[in-house]
Every structure is written in C-alpha cells, then in structure tokens.
Assembly symmetry: C2
Homo-oligomer: 344 residues x 2
Amino acid sequence: MPVNRQVVLASRPDGEPVLQNFRLQQGAVAEPKDGEMLVRVRAISMEPAIRGWLDDNDKNYFEPLPVGGVMRALSIGQVIRSNLPGYAPGDYVRGLMGWEDYSIAGADTVLLQKVDIAEDMPLTHYVGALGGSGLTAIVGLDAIGRIKPGETVVISAAVGAVGHVAAQYARHKGCRVVGIVGSAGKAKVALEQVGYHAVVNYREAANLEQAIREACPEGVDVYYDNVGGPTLDAMLNNMKTFGRIICCGMISSYNRSDDPPPLYNMWQVVARELELKGFLLYSYGDRLPAALATNLEGIRAGWLKPIENKRVGIDQAAELFCELMSGRTTGKSVLEMDLPEQVG
Amino acid sequence: MPVNRQVVLASRPDGEPVLQNFRLQQGAVAEPKDGEMLVRVRAISMEPAIRGWLDDNDKNYFEPLPVGGVMRALSIGQVIRSNLPGYAPGDYVRGLMGWEDYSIAGADTVLLQKVDIAEDMPLTHYVGALGGSGLTAIVGLDAIGRIKPGETVVISAAVGAVGHVAAQYARHKGCRVVGIVGSAGKAKVALEQVGYHAVVNYREAANLEQAIREACPEGVDVYYDNVGGPTLDAMLNNMKTFGRIICCGMISSYNRSDDPPPLYNMWQVVARELELKGFLLYSYGDRLPAALATNLEGIRAGWLKPIENKRVGIDQAAELFCELMSGRTTGKSVLEMDLPEQVG
C-alpha cells in the first residue's frame, strides 16, 4: 500500500531555519473529493518566500503555516486521479502544493494551472527558469523596470533563482548588467557563467555604496532588488533621477521579520524622483504566457542558461531549504522527488 | 539711492535652523545684463525644501548654497527693467530668486515663468495655493496617487502648505481623507477648517500604527507623504494591497540630513505590492496649467480655502523660516515683502 511521505513544520524557526524545524512523516494517500484531484508531486520549488509563511504574524501575504502543518511550495506534479473538470490523469499541473509525495489540488489551489512540458526541457525548469522565479525575472524587468537598451541594471542576489535569469535577459536586451553578490565564489559564477559585466561583493566592500558607484559611475537606471536592507540603502544613493526599483524580495528581512534591518536613505526617493514598486508574480497573470515564451526561446537560442541547485529525494527537502536560507546557494534551488510507488 | 536688502546664509545650521544662521545685509541694486531682467520681489515662498540646500553635501537636488550667499526661494515679483525678450516692465514673474528686494532673473532662472495674476486673488496665493505647494498637492494626487472616489487618502503634515490643499482636493474628489498632525491645535484646524474626516495626532498616539489603523480600519489606498520617517513606517503597515505612496517630502529628515530616521517596514512594499514614487513638481510642467485651473476654480467655488501663515517685511524672513522648520506653522508660510523705494 502506497504511503505519502510529507515534510511538516515541527517548530517555528527563530531566525535562520534549521533542520530541527522540520519533520518527515508518513501518512496515507488522500482520496480526492468532488472538484479535487490527486497529484503526484514531481518537483518542488524552494523559495525564500516560504520562510515568511513560517512566522506567526500578520506581516505576510499568506496565512501563517500552522505548526504540524505540511510545508508548502510551488510545485509541479502529474495528475493521478481527477474529479476536477478539465484535468485528466497524466496532465502536468503547477500550483501551491505540499512538500509530499501526493498532494490534493482543487480549483482553489493557489496558482493552479496546467503546464505543457516541452519535450526538450527538463521538468525541473518548470519550477525554475520556466516557472515562478524565471518568469518573475522577466515580468519584473518588463512591467516595472521598463528596461531599455543601454541602461544600467543592477541586480542583487545576482546568481539567485531570479537574479541569474534577470541578468541574462537584461543583457540580451542590451543593458549593462551589474550584480551584487555575497561571496567570491558567487562573483566568479556571476562573471563567468551568468555574464554580468561587473560584480560587487558586498561582503568584501569596505563601503558598499562606494563600491557600487565605482561599478556604475554614471548611476543606475533600474535596480532589481531581491534583498532589501543595507544593499537597498546603498542603491538608493546610486540611482539616477527617475530610476526604477523593482522590489521583488527582501531576503535580508525573511529570517528576522520581527527585527528587519533599517533603511536610512529613503529621502533619495524624493530627491531623485525614484519609483519603487513591490511585485508578486501572482498579480501579473496576463503577462505570464509571453514571459514563458521569452524564456523558452532564450534557452533554445542559448542566451539564457538556467543554473539549478538540484537535490533529489524528499528526505533532502529540509536540508535544501535551510541551505537556501543560509544564502550559500547558486541558481534555482529545486527538489526533484524520488519516485514513490505509484498510486492506483 | 535705492538699496537692496538681502538675507544671506551666515553659517550652516546644525539641525534645526536658528536666527543666527542668517544675516540681513544691504547691497547695491544690480544692473541687468543682456538676457537678464531686474525683478522687484513681492512675495517669497518659505518651504522646508530650502533647508536641504543649506547643508554642504551631495544628497540634494540643488547645489549647496555657499555660506555668505543670498538665500533662495521660489518667489513672485514684478519686472522693473528687462533685457530679456518676452518680458516687459510690469510683468509678474515667478522663479527661484533671492531673499532680497531686487533680484536678477534670466532665461536660466529655475522655474522662471510669467504669471497672470487674477484680479480676485491675492498676490501671495501665487506662491501658495496657486503656486508650488498648491499645485504639488494636485499633481501628486492625480499623477501619482491616481485617487478615485471612495478611496481612503491619508495625508501627513496634514495642515501644512501642501497637505491642507491636498486634503480639500481629495475630499472634493469624493475620497475619505484622514490627516496626521503633531499637535492638538493642528488637529482642530484639520477637522474644523480643512475638513478632514478624521485626524491622528502622532505626538499623542501611544502606538501610531495602531492609531492609524483605528482611523482607517479598511486600510489606506493612497498616502500623501510629506514627512517620511516613523510616520511613513507606520503607514507601510496600514496600506491596502496595490496602495500608492506619494513621496513628496520627508521633513523628518531635513533638519538632520546626516542622521535620518530609519525605516523598518519596507518589506511591506513587496508583501502589499505598494508603489512609492518620489515627486518634484519641476518634472511635471505639462500638468501645471490644469492644476492651476483646478485650484483657481476651487477657491472661487469655495471647496478650496487656502490657509496662509503670512509675515510682512524682509526682516521677518529668517524668523519665518525658522518657525516653519520648527514644525509649528499651519498652512502656507509666505513672506510678503515690505515695499522698498522703487528703482528707476
């Protein structure tokens, strides 16, 4: 009889999550009710945003996950049984599902959609460069950044899931692309694999604001902010007049939502007439098909080379998430599920 | 022989400006060169923005004023002699001129424009409700706030030069208008003279964020920010999803540009998908005629009642500016010049 392996929240993290905050348990495979379907989860997208759902406060855009509840993530899976019109066994679906072998999905599943898997693309790309993070990169640069050829674009978390796709797209569009990273190893990846024109290592810079100025002497048109905090602060003093800041994530706050790092340079928003705009992909549904087409084309044409930090097996899930939140990873962190016994 | 009384910067303020930072001196009346004109200054607009020009740093949008230099402000005056094509004696002009009886203006004078003074309007309104602050209120709410009937609009520095005009316009447009003020006296003015639907006194509130929540239980669509700092921070936690923040001024930073107050809640920009946009009227020239027409119509129709904090005489200039920067004033601070002997 098939079992359903699940990762649950054992306790709330205090700051950076640790393995002990999670527990692997076995449960029964649920039966889909009317309007539901049973999905075999194939790949799970590990994202910093998940960290926010683990705190018990009202500061986030989802309800807090209860202790003992099954961890959630944007995942891709294959329909096993369906009582939901329009979905049939064998279909690939993406949506907010559990960290588990078998998940129940329904019409109210967040971001549920059918996904066509191109034959020449690995499945994991559909929770990476062809999934939320990859499309976030494109939509952010287009809809909020409004990038133009010749502009200077700075990207923080430069070799992260969003950053490394954003950089390749901005470069493809004719921008000068400067990355901000936190290690020499990442700087090397940024320059050699991703194709940044210049890189600033914020851990090595004696004065981050000055280091960015040296990398962008003419100022910055568009800042793709994935980190917030002191990096955003240093960027505010480096923007050109009418600069745009895509506020996509503030990972500097995620591990410490009750004690976020302060910002001091907001006056520059007035003085330089900056635009800061928060941005969750969920709100830009009409732009997703074009963004997907862009990245598919990019991978095939070679201007977009996705980087994946992949682990295999549900017993690796908690470790992968903790590694992600420690800031040590490069590219898109994705968990490929080991294949459980298939249900009926 | 006519003299030119001038107020110069005697020393740089350390924090809040004091009278000793300024000096009244007498000079000769200059002769306009080719392309210049001699203007008799009639009314001077006192604005918090001036404070920023007095610090010797690169954090502002104008060059720092040198010590010993004549203080500047947006002023309205009358042309005495003109060597500038298109301008004739008797014309009223507005532009960045000195705190002095007679100023030289030319084609490169910042914001120089001819002004038609309506017969039924006092001259001082043209540096107030019909000048920079009044038009800033309208353009900010229209171009950045994009206010709609039924929306909740919060305005800080609620009875200030910009705030009291913004409030009356937003109310006229069918919004619910909530003001943030710093004294019981201002709260009274806000409710009784300006017409705010509700007021929060940030000095009396034990918890500003909570006090705003009680005044705006449904959340805030548009925040007209004139102060920055802790008030902006409290507002970030009170915005509705997709809320817009008009970043018009950050007076909380002006007296302490090297030690601005920190912000902690920027994560809400992402979580609530907020838009913050800095805004200087200088960049919205195409919107000025319509905004002026709006406020003229408003004053005549009665829905806009300008409040002026007026003093008369150049020997009052420094005191008026210091009073403004102390945060004690209500309405638009304007200096009406006493009339010097007229030049030739």
